[in-house]
């Protein structure tokens, strides 16, 4: 019995979307974006992580800015005048979104880990994102 001369091609199913560069196979674009990455809850978890990173990067700058008060009101005022620029205000709106989204999605994680399972996770995740966005829009409406 002779050994097969070619490697069997994997079935083109999403379940076999492991290594997109399997030898002998053409690149399957679906493998670059596996099914789970299209799931709302996966995206919500990614938003939770990215918002956390964004806030972690912002916090030291926030603390440095507030520390300007040690040099007197005039110094802090100079910085606050800079924050009146529309682009800065827009960034502040994004930060309000990140803080709200991170806190609300964090509450959902705590609920999943400590309370009875709730089946409507997609709706909860969507509600958290929408509420966070609404807060950001409200902030911008009040300040711009």
């Amino acid at each position: 019995m002779t050994a097969p001369t070619t490697k069997p091609m994997p079935a083109d199913t999403h379940e076999s979307a492991g290594d997109p560069w399997q030898s002998g196979a053409r690149l399957r674009w679906s493998a670059l974006r596996p099914e789970h990455r299209k799931h709302l809850l996966w995206l919500a978890a990614l938003l939770h992580r990215l918002s956390g990173l964004g806030l972690a990067l912002f916090l030291p700058l926030h603390f440095i800015a507030l520390g300007l008060a040690l040099d007197g009101e005039a110094r802090l005022d100079g910085f606050l005048r800079w924050t009146e620029a529309p682009l800065v205000k827009l960034s502040e709106g994004v930060l309000v979104f990140l803080l709200s989204a991170h806190a609300l999605s964090g509450l959902r994680v705590l609920a999943i880990e400590n309370l009875a399972w709730h089946g409507h996770q997609k709706w909860l995740a969507l509600a958290a994102i929408i509420f966070a966005a609404a807060l950001a829009v409200l902030f911008l409406a009040n300040t711009l």
Partner: protein
């Protein structure tokens, strides 16, 4: 998974959840009632309450962010637990130092 770090991260999250709500209310209040240095500091200077609130917020945020950063570095970079942990500790200490300085700056009479 390190159970102790898991508990500290979840614990600080629980502590901070209502604090984030208060902070968001404060943001909206400040945005609507004056954002000059004099106006902000008139609301915070000499306030033991705000000093205690934001002091606790800084401590909790420093711990929470450091553990979170350690998790992200361990999962998204080639760093292993020790390297990620060291960077996270340094970051947490920096956050704590700058944070307490900021609290002092806006609440010290």
């Amino acid at each position: 998974m390190n159970v102790s770090l898991y508990v500290w991260q979840r614990g600080t999250a629980i502590v901070m959840a209502p604090m984030v709500a208060v902070h968001l209310v404060a943001i909206f209040y400040a945005a609507g009632h004056g954002m000059t240095a004099a106006e902000i500091l008139s609301r915070t200077r000499g306030s033991i309450g705000w000093a205690a609130f934001y002091g606790l917020f800084v401590v909790a945020a420093s711990v929470h962010a450091a553990i979170g950063l350690s998790n992200v570095l361990g999962e998204w970079t080639p760093l292993r637990r020790r390297g990620a942990g060291m960077i996270a500790v340094v970051f947490g200490v920096i956050l704590f130092a700058f944070g307490m300085r900021a609290v002092g700056a806006v609440t010290w009479p």
